[in-house]
């Protein structure tokens, strides 16, 4: 398995339940549940395979087969399904990406609190382990489903589709997806969101956009977070923004602080406008049997 970040497969949990897509090879084992924690089933397995070993006795001559398929085609197909579902229901979805510790969850909590009463919000939380972030979101008043990716380092569109099924997503609502804290891998995986929002905190280096260009290129909005700490740091805001714009000249930037509230008005206005645009361009309702088949199941909180 990955020696860089421990990225792996087969340990994904969505709302405490195993990710359907993965199949078991080894034996199941249960981890004893902590107080207030849902039962978590963990798969103990290595590499997943559904194919039988090749028939090595076959001596037929070899031939070339043209494939010409994008490696991410399957994920992109799931993402397209998600996007279609969200469009049909007029749901504005954001995929929040950043390094660990940039303040994503705190910012989400403040956002939920500020929009309460005006907007129906649901949250999908991605972390390798623990239900802590989803618990913080639920405490703030929004339903949340936690996806535990196990050793995995990003959310993919299939995981998000299953999490969406567990949430009672309402028409014209806002769906916030907090990706796994990682500035590398989530850049490649479309989840079906309207926009990727990258969060860079001023306690990180100005050159993060140059060091991790894929993510800043994939994003439409950069939130420069923890700006209340600027007086205590030697962080060059103009340089950070200049680097980000070199990667992505169309990137919109908002200076923000979840603690002081700086920039929150602009951020909330951006969200509200996005919600309005999504609702206005809502696709026609699908026929019965189409879409994700979202059930009316409320997330337990």
């Amino acid at each position: 398995m990955c020696t860089t970040c421990g990225c792996g497969i087969g340990q994904t949990l969505i709302g405490g339940k195993a990710h359907k897509q993965h199949k078991t090879v080894g034996a199941l084992h249960y981890r004893a549940a902590e107080p207030n924690e849902v039962n978590i089933i963990e798969y103990n397995q290595d590499i997943i395979n559904t194919t039988s070993p090749a028939d090595t006795t076959d001596t037929s001559p070899s031939r070339l087969v043209k494939i010409e398929r994008d490696i991410l085609a399957k994920n992109n197909s799931h993402a397209a399904d998600n996007r279609n579902y969200l469009a049909v229901h007029g749901i504005f979805a954001l995929n929040l990406v950043s390094s660990p510790g940039s303040g994503k969850t705190s910012l989400l909590v403040k956002t939920i609190t500020a929009l309460q009463g005006n907007k129906t919000i649901a949250v999908i939380e991605g972390d390798q382990q623990t239900d802590n972030d989803a618990a913080r979101i639920r405490a703030a008043g929004a339903p949340a489903v936690q996806i535990n990716t196990g050793k995995g380092c990003h959310l993919d569109a299939s995981m998000v589709a299953q999490a969406m099924q567990q949430l009672n997503l309402q028409d014209h609502s806002l769906l916030l997806i907090e990706n796994v804290g990682n500035l590398v891998c989530p850049a490649s995986f479309d989840l079906g969101e309207a926009h990727k929002v990258v969060i860079l905190s001023v306690t990180e280096g100005e050159d993060k956009p140059l060091k991790y260009p894929d993510m800043f290129r994939a994003a439409d909005l950069m939130l420069l977070n923890k700006c209340d700490l600027l007086p205590y740091l030697e962080f060059d805001v103009a340089l950070a923004i200049d680097y980000a714009l070199r990667i992505n000249p169309k990137l919109k930037v908002i200076r923000i602080s979840a603690s002081s509230g700086e920039g929150m008005v602009e951020w909330l206005a951006w969200i509200t406008q996005g919600c309005r645009n999504t609702a206005a361009s809502r696709s026609p309702l699908p026929q019965a049997g189409e879409g994700l088949g979202v059930r009316d199941v409320h997330c337990s909180s």
């Binding site: 590499i47 070339l64 398929r69 399957k74 490649s188």
Partner: protein, 113 residues
């Protein structure tokens, strides 16, 4: 490090092709990896071997075809080579370049029997 997921996707593509193209074993896999794509070639090779184990593509040889990065400079109205996403146009120094090639990753071809 998402190459493990990507290698799994490669295997899915191979397995789907095996069903439609009726082959039982894969001897060589050619992947096109763009210079600007989010793939580390060495990591992909490592994950490829691990994921293909006990599959139809066990012991298959992985051949990676490099695809050079290319961008378009609006100011100069010309194509420019791009080694990294933050490269500037060599003529005018402009960073606002549109990526036109080298950001994809594809399963190009298989040698099968």
């Amino acid at each position: 490090m998402h190459e493990m997921s990507l290698a799994e996707s490669v295997l899915q593509i191979i397995e789907e092709a095996a069903t439609t193209q009726k082959f039982k074993r894969v001897k060589t896999v050619w992947l096109e990896i763009g210079q600007l794509s989010c793939v580390e070639k060495e990591a992909m090779s490592f994950c490829f071997d691990a994921v293909m184990r006990d599959s139809i593509a066990q012991d298959a040889r992985l051949e990676i075809i490099d695809v050079a990065g290319q961008g378009w400079c609006e100011t100069c109205a010309c194509a420019v080579p791009l080694a990294v996403l933050y490269d500037a146009c060599p003529k005018c120094g402009n960073h606002a370049l549109k990526v036109t090639d080298g950001d994809a990753m594809r399963v190009k071809e298989l040698e099968v029997e």
